[in-house]
């Protein structure tokens, strides 16, 4: 792109911003994004907030509306401490997957930063939210804010009616199971509209007053006892095994009141809403970083950003994508911004200037020059795990000098399994992809059996992969929470996924207090 520079075409000068400049910058950036990158975004709502409000948003898991709970207060203290100590800067922005897409901008940002943030969040993240399959299928951007509003109000009403302590107890227990409160393999139903929710609540209130055979307390009839050999009808209706513990408890717990079920449902819906975000960290941040980096450079090339502002932008950009090596004291894992950006720029390079090796590894896209289409497609169709599995190139593995370290608990040594060489590329790529597979990395715990007609003993099973067991203390504490929601004994059996052998079993009756 030739420089059509002239002083007057600058979008802004100086570091102060006002709403007019913000709006002009947004329009220019958006036009460029549509024209050059073919981005497709939700309408944007930009909100200017102070650092205090940013901290508030941090502690209520980034949502503008949230019900009240002590754990958010605790997180706030933690964030506040980190911020005050200077241990962590605040994000310059926060973006919410909603329609319209809400972008928080910090008032302290300079105009150059606001432009950077606009490109990053209002276009990069926004495009990703709107087009990525995971978000499209699993979250409902249009309904989330009204749902949170409903949730907040509902919980306030519950607190008024049933007392803070009772509501807090249910929320504590539900929060403990948030990781086990998502459907990993089938799409959750859409959030219902205000009217439907009203209907559901009315139905719940009706059920509150009526009788359900499932929770029969009378002794089983003769006939039921005769049926012992096969699973009776009621058991089939439970759809066991069930991976979503919160869903199971919400629908089937014999002791919960309807309002308690609704609270569990709220926690579950929120957990489900965030599930795609946790699976697409590298892609989401990579996409946004790639977009802001590309757009800012284009604007600079067109003479719409001054050199001073560009320097500031680049300095912030390089802070964001800083990746220390594993033996650096600053190392704290792989920086998703850096990995995402590098991979996407690598795709750009392979499309335009491939080496022989790239042609070997990526015959479909090497040298085709269509990097925009490849990226748009990747952003739409992949999550971190599949993206890395498909697009991590040997060149990038060499650049990052990745290596795989095998770590078995019973060995005194770690083994360097693969390094960035011919034999290692495929293995490193697979291992890195696996490490981003949430489904494989979180403990796999399912409801396998329940004795509804007997002592109502709830049996959970933990499939132990690679011999990785659960932490004892937190496992016991979490089981206590499940027991609180279920009301009767709960036991968790650890079963080796390969051999099928039961390793051990822990029951709430073994856990004191």
């Amino acid at each position: 792109m030739a420089r059509q520079a002239s002083k007057s075409s600058l979008l802004f000068s100086g570091s102060d911003w006002d709403f007019k400049t913000l709006s002009r910058a947004y329009d220019a950036i958006e036009a460029l994004a549509v024209e050059e990158l073919h981005l497709d975004t939700y309408p944007v709502q930009m909100e200017i907030i102070s650092s205090q409000q940013m901290l508030d948003a941090y502690s209520s898991i980034g949502m503008p509306l949230m019900y009240r709970h002590w754990s958010f207060g605790k997180h706030f203290l933690h964030q506040d401490l980190l911020y005050r100590k200077g241990g962590r800067g605040l994000a310059y922005e926060l973006v919410i997957n909603s329609n319209p897409c809400i972008v928080y901008l910090m008032e302290e940002n300079t105009m150059a930063l606001q432009a950077l943030v606009t490109a990053h969040a209002a276009l990069g993240h926004n495009h990703f939210f709107k087009n990525n399959q995971l978000f499209k299928q699993w979250t409902d951007a249009g309904a989330i804010l009204s749902y949170l509003d409903f949730a907040k109000g509902y919980i306030v009403r519950c607190e008024e009616r049933h007392g803070l302590a009772a509501v807090e107890a249910v929320l504590d227990s539900a929060h403990a199971l948030m990781d086990q409160g998502v459907f990993r393999y089938h799409r959750p139903p859409r959030l219902s509209s205000e009217r439907q929710r009203e209907g559901i609540r009315e139905r719940l209130e009706y059920e509150e007053r009526s009788y359900n055979d499932l929770w029969r307390t009378l002794p089983a009839s003769q006939q039921a006892a005769n049926d012992k050999g096969q699973d009776p009808e009621w058991k089939k209706s439970l759809n066991l095994p069930e991976e979503n513990l919160l869903y199971f408890l919400e629908k089937n717990s014999p002791v919960l009141e309807p309002w308690q079920r609704e609270i569990i449902r709220i926690v579950r819906v929120i957990a489900q809403y965030f599930y795609p975000q946790r699976q697409t960290q590298v892609m989401n941040e990579g996409c946004a970083t790639f977009v802001h980096y590309t757009l800012m450079n284009m604007l600079f090339d067109r003479g719409q950003i001054s050199e001073g502002a560009m320097l500031e932008i680049l300095r912030n950009h390089s802070n964001v994508v800083f990746q220390p090596a594993f033996d650096d004291p600053r190392f704290s894992g792989i920086n998703p911004y850096a990995l995402g950006l590098d991979m996407m720029q690598d795709i750009q390079r392979i499309s335009t200037k491939p080496t022989a090796e790239d042609r070997d590894w990526f015959p479909d896209m090497a040298g085709q020059g269509n990097w925009r289409e490849v990226l748009l497609d990747a952003w739409a169709e992949h999550r971190d795990e599949s993206f890395i599995r498909q697009y991590l190139s040997p060149a990038l593995i060499r650049k990052w000098r990745f290596f795989v370290l095998g770590d078995a608990a019973d060995q005194p040594h770690c083994l360097v399994a693969s390094i960035h060489d011919e034999r290692g590329y495929a293995k490193i790529r697979a291992a890195l992809a696996n490490s981003y597979d949430l489904g494989a990395n979180r403990p796999d715990i399912q409801v396998v059996d329940v004795d509804l007609l007997g002592d109502r003993h709830l049996r959970l099973q933990h499939k132990v992969n690679d011999g990785i067991l659960l932490e004892d203390a937190s496992r016991d504490a979490t089981l206590r929470h499940i027991r609180r929601l279920w009301g009767y004994e709960v036991s968790l059996a650890a079963m080796d996924a390969e051999t099928g052998a039961t390793i051990h079993e822990r029951s709430t009756s073994q856990i004191a207090g």
Partner: protein
């Protein structure tokens, strides 16, 4: 063009509710750690923010987590410089992958945070109350607070409700058909246009008619005011009585030579604590500081705590001074009077009897409550622990203690004693007072 919303002026502290919930949850543990800090630290520091450790009990958020010390896993790390495939790297002590990300789950909860002064004192003063405040004269109304209560036709100009006033004026103008400015303007314009054209008889006639009409309208406008006094409405305020807790606290302290550094220090701490407590609980409380040697003197807070003076010890002078101040400034029917005295128990021979008579005669009747703390030597602590024996002042006050339920006395030997004594003195309604 995006939508912009400026949220900077939105109410702050959106997460205050969450913080309060959190503090309530961790209350017991926080209370204990605040108490420890105040017990061991300087008491003048009590009146400030305190950093406390995140309590462990009740604030953990458990979930199913993989144990770090089991199973086989792979770490993918960047920045390899000299490893090649097959290298064995010894693990650093205590399991866990060598360079794996450190277990931050445990350390995440291990941090200190700051409680504000208000929160510290709330925790510190929980279940404390000045005795007999229940007896507060609720009928005695001393303050009023204005509260909005509708509108009135009379009032002071600052309270004019412009919206209401203009609404009334508008209605009245419509009802009385006050000529509008546009009507006048139209006539003036017509006159002007007629006058500019060459005159004809018709036009002259028309102009005359118009002028008459204009005159009529203007007179009407003058008669019907734009805003009339009848339109004016004022915001009305009701004076609402606010029950007023008038209390005065007398702090009496011996600063004579017989009080050593240690004794003074302990007495100071007692008063600081007391002072804090009063400042905290009652916003309309006055505090009078009286220090004494062989002479008593009312001083300001600064002097009371930080200036030294030497001389003999005549306790009754302080009581006399207190009595004088009460009669001149704090009539007993308007004020709840509380007194706290700190001393090492030394007194000029024969003066203790005078103290008894002063207290019995007048002061104890005026006071809601009189607390006496005696600062004793650490070695004496176990001797005097619970006995009636002691210094002349102690023995003298003992007789008052027997006679008056609103008199309390205690001994302090170490800084750690102060807080328990403090709680004992000002604990919720000692049974003794019920007898009163």
């Amino acid at each position: 063009m995006p939508i912009f919303i400026d949220r900077r002026l939105n109410p702050k502290d959106k997460s205050l509710g969450n913080r309060q919930r959190f503090l309530r949850r961790a209350r017991e543990e926080l209370k204990r750690s605040i108490r420890d800090q105040i017990r061991t630290g300087r008491i003048t520091d009590a009146d400030s923010e305190h950093a406390v450790r995140m309590p462990e009990r009740g604030t953990s958020e458990p979930s199913f987590n993989n144990a770090r010390d089991s199973g086989r896993r792979q770490h993918i790390l960047p920045g390899n410089r000299h490893f090649s495939a097959g290298d064995l790297i010894p693990k650093p002590g205590g399991g866990g992958g060598g360079a794996s990300s450190p277990g931050n789950k445990a350390s995440e909860d291990d941090f200190r945070f700051v409680l504000s002064r208000e929160e510290v004192l709330d925790l510190f003063f929980e279940d404390l109350e000045l005795p007999d405040m229940v007896k507060l004269n609720l009928k005695e109304i001393l303050a009023f607070k204005p509260r909005r209560a509708g509108f009135a036709a009379t009032g002071s100009p600052t309270n004019i409700n412009v919206g209401r006033t203009m609404r009334n004026s508008h209605g009245r103008r419509i009802a009385l058909r006050r000529p509008k400015q546009v009507e006048l303007d139209a006539i003036l314009e017509e006159i002007a246009s007629l006058e500019s054209t060459p005159s004809s008889a018709d036009a002259r006639q028309r102009i005359a008619a118009l002028r008459e009409e204009l005159d009529r309208l203007e007179r009407r406008r003058r008669r019907i005011a734009y805003v009339d006094p009848v339109d004016i409405r004022f915001n009305r305020f009701d004076s609402r009585p606010v029950p007023n807790a008038n209390a005065v606290m007398f702090c009496l302290m011996d600063v004579s030579g017989s009080m050593g550094e240690r004794e003074k220090d302990l007495a100071k701490r007692f008063f600081v604590l007391l002072h804090l407590f009063l400042k905290r609980r009652y916003d309309r409380i006055e505090i009078v500081f009286i220090r004494h040697t062989h002479l008593a003197q009312e001083v300001d807070e600064e002097t009371f705590f930080y200036n030294t003076q030497s001389g003999g010890t005549v306790v009754s002078t302080a009581l006399e001074e207190m009595h004088r101040i009460i009669t001149s400034r704090y009539p007993a029917h308007d004020w709840n009077i509380y007194a706290a005295q700190a001393s090492d128990g030394d007194n000029f021979a024969g003066d203790s009897e005078r103290c008894i008579s002063l207290l019995n005669g007048e002061l104890m009747r005026l006071c809601q409550y009189f607390a006496y703390v005696e600062i004793i030597d650490e070695r004496e602590a176990h001797i005097f622990g619970s006995t009636e024996n002691g210094t002349s002042l102690w023995r003298a006050y003992n007789s008052i203690d027997q006679k008056w339920p609103n008199f309390q006395m205690s001994r302090i030997a170490t800084p750690a004693d102060i807080y328990p004594v403090f709680r004992q003195l000002f604990g919720r309604q000692p049974a003794a007072l019920k007898r009163a």
